[in-house]
């Protein structure tokens, strides 16, 4: 670990060990001015190794932040042709892009559903009307005038059915194509994910170094347990199978509510 963190602290530990032996020797032979000089040396070495470590950490942090901004992140998003091409340059923008893209896809899909539902309803109601008269025809229950009427209506209906099927087909195709958002947003999220992993790795190093600094300097931190407030909400539960506090289905919610007298 000390290699990754910079060799400062490891060297300092060896220095303290060696220094302690020398210090004892000075004291044993009664050379107190030598002993005090050694103590000063050790104290200086302690400062130096901390400075080195802080310098190293600052550089690591700086690199992490710089990587955060540059790191192969120049995805080009084209909207409405080549005129308005935007470069998303940071993770937050990327995630906003995901929100916007998923929202646009959801709305487009719902638009298609909204425009399909009346077509299907109209098709259904026309077919039902025709069926009534059709069964009367089968039962030879139609007057000649009604028959001529039905004859024409069938023709109109067939052409309407053809047009409706074309509309529905095209709407379904649009819905299908809209699902492409999953690919686009998936790529963006994967990149942001890599970024987070990278930054986390660097932060883990930081914590490891901070831990070593604490252990040498004898500083102790009280761990604060932060509990999330239920009132603010948690968002959708991920890995809910592994969390006994989270209910897995509407049925479980219903069971809990009925046990409470609902």
């Amino acid at each position: 670990m000390s290699k990754i963190l910079g060799s400062g602290l490891g060297d300092f530990e060896n220095l303290v060990k060696d220094g302690a032996v020398e210090l004892l020797n000075y004291i044993e032979v009664g050379d107190f001015s030598g002993a005090i000089k050694k103590i000063q040396e050790l104290s200086e070495a302690r400062h130096n190794s901390f400075y080195n470590e802080v310098g190293f950490l600052t550089r690591s942090l700086h690199d992490a932040i710089r990587d955060f901004q540059v790191d192969s992140m120049d995805l080009v998003v084209g909207e409405g042709g080549s005129e308005s091409v935007t470069k998303i340059t940071d993770a937050s923008d990327r995630l906003n892009y995901v929100i916007e893209t998923t929202s646009a896809a959801a709305n487009k899909t719902m638009d298609m559903v909204d425009s399909s539902v009346p077509v299907a309803s109209e098709l259904q109601s026309q077919a039902r009307e025709l069926r009534k008269d059709w069964s009367r025809l089968i039962q030879r229950d139609l007057t000649p005038q009604e028959f001529r009427d039905l004859y024409k209506r069938i023709d109109v209906f067939l052409s309407y059915a053809d047009d409706s099927a074309t509309t529905l087909h095209s709407n379904l195709n649009t819905i299908l194509l809209e699902q492409g958002y999953q690919d686009l947003t998936g790529q963006v999220i994967a990149r942001v994910n890599d970024l987070i992993r990278d930054v986390e790795e660097k932060l883990v190093h930081l914590v490891a170094v901070a831990g070593r600094v604490d252990s040498i300097s004898g500083i102790e931190h009280k761990e604060k347990e932060s509990e999330h407030d239920d009132t603010r909400g948690h968002g959708p539960a991920i890995n809910k199978q592994n969390n006994p506090e989270v209910l897995n289905s509407q049925d479980e919610v219903d069971d809990l509510l009925s046990s409470l007298g609902f």
Binding site: S103, A106, N107, M110, V113, D114, D230, T231, R232, G233, H234, G235, P236, A237, K240, E245, V246, L247, N248, S249, Q250, V253, L256, L257, L260, F262
Partner: protein, 126 residues
Amino acid sequence: MKILIVDDFSTMRRIIKNLLRDLGFTNTVEADDGTTALPILQAGTIDFLVTDWNMPGMTGIELLRAVRADEKLKSIPVLMVTAEAKRDQIIAAAQAGVNGYVVKPFTAVALKEKIEKIFERIDAAK
């Protein structure tokens, strides 16, 4: 029957609105969190409230508590439609006086069932 739909995501409001329309409830209004919902409720024309939990500003549970604490609003039926599924949260919603609780992602059938159940209870209490 005028229904107020409160959710911070417009797509979810639209889904709920469409499902309600299929169930025959065509008169709906929308708000994007508790803070904007309360004045609409206080205007006094809302008969039924459908709310999400997790929203910026005022959350759904806070809205529910505010409704129950308001003398004029406290009898409005409240259906919670939310991704929040922690045992403690559902108990908290029940204690705050929720009338139904639907967890996201939900089905049209589940929503219909809960709404019908709420109206059955209201009719039975009359």
